[in-house]
Assembly symmetry: C2
Homo-oligomer: 323 residues x 2
């Protein structure tokens, strides 16, 4: 009975049970307390409590390739019968031959062709349906479970904790916004209007294929929300400077600098992938999620660097089987 | 005593006291009831209750010129001493000579030059400060009161009413988003992240003039949120189709079509400026706020057309003097 009470008290007292007790976890809770306790010198009104999170590698897995890119490759294969010319044209033939080495060495333009070929030519609503179906069946090659089950449990707790303390949580990702929105509400409890990402142009047609107005997804990239694009994206979509930001790669550096550079209190952190056994270990020389300059800056500025192996107890929630 | 009680009861019962009782007001309240009453066939979960509003001419005055353009002209005059070349170069010389006829006939490119000349070359934060100072002192040429006091009282009531019923209210304007955000929170209780508008590019610099990271406003237009751009903007920023939309001009047509074209219940309305005495009367032939095709479409589709003269009791809140 006393044990049960103690366990209950601990559960109430610890908003971040999957985080290892230590300086990192303590610094997060201290910051939240400092900006939410009335009378505190650093108190922030609720509307100022803007928290931003990179997605790939910060909220969910990004190895061995971005989930969205895995989707794009599968989609190209699905569409191949409609495009016989792809059999002989790079980069599509590399996709169809499973030659990821040729593909990855073929440069940005080729990768954008793969994205355009798999992400355009349908309405926004059809695209959401296609992504939803794919997420329901696709599995991560190593963990053999759905990608949506590979969000980081400690980060899900952090999102919940911040929202319980009046923060508004946003995704600020280099990934495509329409891809993320399909799962962000279900997995992160983040509504579409709080997901910021890269986007392609859309075109309004008053009469779509179903006789109703539609927005058609076009192949042209409209905005790249990465690197210095992240502060611009934050400004464009949120219009207020965040006070808390988490990222994991050099593409997040400017977002972290922008957040840390505000006039008031701020909290900035990097997730450092250090656990090859339970997830992946990579940083300065990685093609995906390269963390080099931002790691140096974090050390200079004394930002929190989360050591995944040491600081996170479970990395993923237990997988309950088919969703 | 009984009178006081009756008045109090009426105040509680009527969420739109500045709207004339009639079919228009009733249709708004009926729609809100229909989508918020549990058990109703048209019930919408709170997260689906997305309401979008054009700004100029829908939420506040847009005659005799867009407020933002009045700001741009004043700003060009303020900056003129730093730009002696403007004295002899169109369109700037027309601005400085007060030759609005020459200015308005000089085409889109010239107007964009005026916007670029007045809206770029400073940080986003400095721009907000400049706009805030201007709004605090500038007066509308006819009404001789601050522009922020010329929001439409019936629309302020509608925004409040919708929010009290679990709607999330957004501005979706052709105007510049950074200009609107300066007053949208104070005047409409709409936070920056719920204001969508046209935007120019911004550039991140790690070390701004005050030694801290800054976003510099650049002259290039990045996105025009007008006409068919409005559904694209809604998709990009909100990622969900609205269920309620108010506009007042042909620039709002596609936003209204997009809202009305959803699978579920929707409510779409136009504000028709019919009151030359208390505000302005204009529609099919107006340069600013032209309402022609959208008026025809509203009649065809039986959308609500608000007759400002008949449907709105006060148009503006009583002006209390200096803010």
């Amino acid at each position: 009975m006393i044990v049960a009470l103690l366990v209950a008290a601990a559960a109430v007292a610890d908003p971040l049970p999957s985080w290892t007790d230590g300086a990192g976890k303590k610094s997060i809770i201290d910051f939240v307390d400092r900006v939410t306790r009335e009378g505190s010198a650093d108190y922030l009104a609720s509307r100022e409590r803007i928290a931003v999170f990179d997605n790939d590698g910060t909220l969910w897995i990004e190895q061995p390739m971005y989930v969205q890119f895995a989707f794009a490759l599968d989609r190209i294969k699905t569409l191949a019968p409609l495009h016989p010319e792809w059999r002989t044209t790079a980069p599509f033939k590399d996709v169809l031959n499973g030659d990821s080495k040729a593909l990855l060495s073929s440069g940005t333009h080729a990768l954008l062709q793969v994205i355009a070929g798999s992400h355009s030519g349908m309405s926004t609503e059809d695209f959401s349906t296609i992504v939803g179906s794919w997420l329901a069946t696709a599995k991560h090659p190593r963990f053999q479970r759905p990608y949506t089950s590979l969000a980081y449990q400690p980060m899900l707790e952090l999102l919940d904790y911040l929202r319980s303390q009046g923060f508004k949580t946003f995704i600020v990702s280099g990934g495509g916004v329409e891809f993320m929105r399909v799962f962000a509400e279900q997995v992160y409890d983040i509504p579409p209007e709080q997901a910021i990402g890269s986007s392609a142009a859309t075109k309004f047609v008053a009469v779509g294929t179903n006789g109703k107005p539609a927005l058609l997804k076009e192949p042209q990239i409209e905005f790249v929300n990465d690197g210095p694009g992240k502060p611009s994206g934050i400004n464009r979509f949120i219009g207020r400077r965040p006070v808390l930001a988490f990222g994991n790669s050099d593409g997040d550096l400017q977002m972290l600098q922008w957040t840390a550079g505000g006039a008031g209190p701020s909290f900035v952190a990097l997730i450092h992938h250090t656990d090859a056994e339970r997830e992946y270990a990579y940083d300065r020389n990685s093609t995906i999620g390269k963390l080099d300059k931002a790691l140096d800056e974090a050390q200079r500025q004394r930002w929190l660097v989360v050591d995944m192996k040491r600081d996170w107890q479970p990395i993923f929630a237990e997988y309950q089987g088919a969703r």
